[in-house]
Structures are given as structure tokens and as C-alpha cells.
Symmetry: C2
């Protein structure tokens, strides 16, 4: 018997506990060419919320009443192919369950990289790290001395963007909710932290933190954060449109987002570029090489919020939207 | 004595007749190194509305109680420099008045280009033509066979974008208000015209006209047109953010613009780029060369709405916002 989280109802608005359920099902028997894996670490990402409802032009949403896919690291417990041996560590996308089996081709052996813990392949050495790296380098096109605003700067991607930005010589303003997270952002090297939960306009807070204006905005939030960045952008600013967590839980996915400073796109010749790591996946060796180098040099550190046990995954996922996590959210099985 | 239109009150919301006034003042006497010009043609542009109120990060707004600047073509009537002779045709930016004088360096002789009428230097051969040309070529990066949506397609820049787009082999959907303008857009070569004034959702109208989706959106309008383009954009679409006439007359410049499809920037990896012709002014010889070639080959035509007499300029300007013009709006003195 194996357990897996399944989507049992497409959420309307904020995800609720009853939208997903931990289901126990018979484990399938292993066929020829297949391997069987016990999961060790699961990745929990805000983008999963977007896949729970159909967004036109986005990826296919999760199927109902079927284990939710997700990135995971596991250990081979049984193998019917010569390439994998019992005990091998593997990466795969059949997460949100305690065990996974299938054709060997759907699993990838973890690269041997001395000093890199298993779970890092779901964080800095995985998609979260690559998202921060390629989003900032390729879309943000940073130049030393420029000013960058990062929203959700205490989150998985945000905390990595802040650290890479410091390595590249940027002045960084991060936003997060609450004093603890703001203090955390400063420990990552941010020059200023904006607590969006305190009273007052986000536009004014950003203006005080960056009176010179913003050259790069790394957007994980959308909505009022995007508007504040538009209001404070310098001529020729680049906006990396990586995510809009503020809108993921709207009851109506089409609820309009009000922007008061939209005309500044024209006036200040701002470029907004939608970014998806899938366009850069073929170059992941490059971001892994840089991350490994920075990790060994102590210039970057892995920031995680870890929950124990598969049964904790639902709560950990809901926590992403109430701001309970700092850094990458992981489930340790 | 000389007459000039002056801004007497910064408009709140829609420009009203009393915001600008035709004022008569003493003509200054001509100093050494100066020339005196009688204006023949004046350019009237929607962007002038934006300069009547202060928009942060945009150009300096017009001064109150002082002749409004604007692009004009005139004829030298008196010269105190050897480079200009009586009868020379010149281009300058002291429009909205019947005569202009000042240092010779503020005037430019009209280039000699056989078969090009004087007023074309304010249209296809001037900024409007260059805006369409560089906006489409440099920001839109069109490939033959792609689909482009152009808002305000019957306007000065829009009508030129439609024609250049056809030369480059694009499928083109233009939007405009009313059946006459939609018919006009089709005579320019547009494959489909959307009348935004008829009942029904602009999103659905665009979907019917371009079921394959939009590769390029040339934005002159903002607001609901921008949202419709976001909703219908293909993966990797380019948005040329040239203007947002829909918001120029908002009573509060910060009145939020509601966008329901903002998340598609991320999902479809759309790039929105604010465009100003001032970044390309140094390359205007290139757009003029192409325009002259297309004009002579009969591949493009100048579309204008001409009003007679300086006193008509106020009404002509207001007409830009009530949709009375097709093509470039000019005043013939």
C-alpha cells in the first residue's frame, strides 16, 4: 500500500484543506524496465496552485483524483534495469507520495557533486535555483551598482535572487510580510526590507528605500507590488515577471488587477518579460555549476522550511499562501 | 501681432474647450542670428494631452499661459542668417501658432525629396511614421505570416502600422470605433477590423478575428484593448507599448486600470516594451528612406484629417479623443 496526495476538488479562491486529500492505494507491481523508489524529499511550490485550476495558455492542470505530480528526490528500493541499483539516489517528478514506480527513463540519477546534500537538488541546485539564476541574469540583465526590488524576497526563489544579486553587486530592496521575515531578508544581504503588512502605501515605502528608482524588478507577487515597481521604475527598467502569487487564489481567476501606474511602461520605457524556467531547462548545467561554486565559497546558502512526514504536505502547501515559510518549502519523509 | 494656442488650465479628465485658448500677443522683433517663419502646417497629437498634466517620470509638462510647443512646417519670411532665405521651407517644434521666430538653430530645412508634399514631414516622413516604423520593426520584431493586433488602427500611428505590417506579410486585425473607420482600416489592408463600440466583449471579438492568437500587439490604447491582447496572446508574443490613449483623460491620472489577464504575461512569456520615438530619433533617416521608397512604389499612402485655420486647432485636438479623425490630424494655415 502507498499513500499519495490527490486533488479531489478544483479550488475556488484560497486553497482549502478539503481540496486535496491523502489517499491510500494499492502499490502497482513492478514491470520489466521499471524501478521502484522510496521518496526522501518532496518539493512544495506556489506554482502548484496555478496547476490546480485551468489557466488558459498555461500548462495542463492536474487531473482530479489522481496523485499530484511534483518534484521529489528518492532512493531506489527495487530495480528491474541494470542502470539503477538499490540505494541509488534519484530525482523525479512523481512527488506528493511516499513511493513511486515506473519506467526507469522517468527517473534521473542525482549528479555526484561533493558536499551537496540530497535536498539541494530540489532547491538551489534544482528548478528554484535555476529560476532565480536565469530570471535575474537573462531577463534582468543586471549591471553592478544597479538597484533591484525583489517581491516575496523571503520565499524560495526570492531568497535566492537576493543572494545572487548581492554577489553581482546590486543594491537590493526585498519585500516580505512581518518583521521576522524582513530581518531574514537582511541576513541574506538585502540593503533594505519592506514589510508589506505594516500600514502605509507600498509605493511610498519603496520610494523611501530606493529614492534613486528601481532598475530591475523581480516579480513573484504581481498586483500592488507590481504597481509599486511601475511607480518607482527608472527609465529602461527591466521587470522579470516570474510569478504573481497575489492572484493565484482569486475566486475568479479573471478578477481584474488594478494598476494605477500602467502608463509608466510607456513613459519610462519599461520592459516586462514573462519568464518560465521551462525555456531554460536545457541550460540547467550552467546554473548548477555557478550555484555549486557559490555554495562552496560560502557566498550563497540554502534556506529551507522543512516539514516532517507525507501527512504534513497539505498544511505545508497551504502555508505558502499564508506566509508561513521562509526559503524553499520541503517535505522530509 | 501673432496668435498662439496656450494652455490656460491643466485639464482634469477629458480636455475641455476652456482648458486651452487662442491668445493674440505682440510679435517679438527679430534679433541677430534669428529667423521669422510663417507656419503652413501644424501637427496635432494625442500625446499632447499627456503633456498637459504632470506624469511622473514622463517629459516636462507644458507651461501654463505660454504658447504650446508642437511640430510644424513653415516658410521663412525674414532671415538674419545666410543659411536661410525667404521662401525656404522649414521644420520646427514651435507649433500651435501662426508664426514663429527664434535662433536659426531651432529650425531645420525640409530635406529635398522629390514628390513628397510638405505636410508629409509631419506624418509618414516625420515622427508618426518613425514611431510606426521603429515600434513595429525594433520592438515588434515581426516575422512574415505572424498575426498582429493594432489598436486605434485608424489613427495616425495605427494606420501606418497596419500598412507597414501588410508590406511585411503579417495578418492584421485592427480596432477602431464605428463602421466607417473599420471600413477604412480594411482599405489599408487589414484582414479584419474590430469595432470596439458594438456590444460584446473585446476579448471574444479578438478571439474570433484571430483564433490562432496574437504574436504582436501594437498598443495605442491600453485598458480593455491591452487586456484583450493579453487574453489572446500566443506564447512569446511581443507587445509594443506605444501609447495608452484610453487613460490620458482620466480625472485622476492614478485611477487604476483593471486587467483580468495579467497573469498571462507569465504563463505565455509575453514581453511588453515601453516605446518612445525619442530613443530612435537619431535613426530617423532610416525610416524616412523606407517610407519614401514605399510611397513612390504606391505600397503606402498618407492618411490625414485636415482642418483649416489656426482657430480650428482646439476643436481638432478635442476630436482626437472623441474619435473624429482618421489618420494623421493636421491643421492647414
Amino acid at each position: 500500500m502507498a499513500r499519495a496526495w490527490e486533488l479531489v476538488r478544483r479550488p475556488l479562491g484560497m486553497v482549502k484543506a478539503g481540496d486535496i486529500a491523502l489517499i491510500t492505494r494499492e502499490s502497482p507491481s513492478l514491470g520489466a524496465g521499471e524501478i521502484h523508489v522510496r521518496n526522501l524529499w518532496l518539493s512544495v511550490d506556489p506554482a502548484m496552485r496555478a496547476l490546480m485550476t485551468k489557466v488558459e495558455g498555461y500548462m495542463e492542470p492536474y487531473a482530479l483524483n489522481s496523485p499530484m505530480p511534483g518534484r521529489a528526490v528518492g532512493e531506489v528500493v527495487e530495480s528491474r534495469v541494470p542502470e539503477f541499483k538499490r540505494g541509488d539516489k534519484v530525482f523525479h517528478t512523481m512527488g506528493w507520495r511516499d513511493e513511486a514506480s515506473g519506467p526507469a527513463s522517468t527517473f534521473t540519477k542525482l549528479p555526484t557533486e561533493p558536499g551537496i546534500a540530497d535536498e539541494l537538488w530540489l532547491g538551489l541546485m534544482g528548478m528554484a535555483g535555476a529560476t532565480a539564476y536565469f530570471g535575474l541574469i537573462e531577463v534582468g540583465r543586471p549591471k553592478s551598482g544597479e538597484t533591484m526590488f525583489v517581491s516575496a524576497a523571503a520565499g524560495s526563489v526570492g531568497s535566492t535572487v537576493v543572494q545572487i544579486g548581492k554577489i553581482l553587486g546590486l543594491k537590493i530592496i526585498g519585500s516580505a510580510g512581518g518583521t521576522a521575515k524582513c530581518a531574514f531578508i537582511r541576513t541574506l544581504g538585502a540593503d533594505a526590507a519592506i514589510d508589506y503588512k505594516t500600514p502605509g502605501s507600498l509605493i511610498d515605502k519603496l520610494k523611501r528605500a530606493a529614492p534613486e528608482g528601481v532598475d530591475i524588478y523581480f516579480d513573484n507577487v504581481g498586483g500592488d507590488h507590481l504597481d509599486a515597481a511601475l511607480a518607482n521604475a527608472r527609465v529602461g527598467a527591466r521587470f522579470v515577471e516570474c510569478g504573481m502569487i497575489q492572484t493565484y487564489n482569486f475566486e475568479d481567476a479573471r478578477q481584474p488587477v488594478g494598476l494605477g501606474y500602467l502608463m509608466r511602461i510607456v513613459a519610462a520605457r519599461i520592459t516586462l518579460t514573462g519568464f518560465s524556467i521551462f525555456d531554460f531547462e536545457h541550460r540547467i548545467a550552467e546554473s548548477r555549476r555557478e550555484m555549486a561554486r557559490w555554495l562552496r565559497a560560502g557566498q550563497i546558502r540554502s534556506c529551507t522550511t522543512v516539514s516532517e512526514g507525507l501527512e504534513s504536505a497539505g498544511e505545508a502547501f497551504l502555508g505558502l499562501f499564508s506566509g508561513r515559510n521562509t526559503g524553499k518549502t520541503l517535505i522530509k519523509l
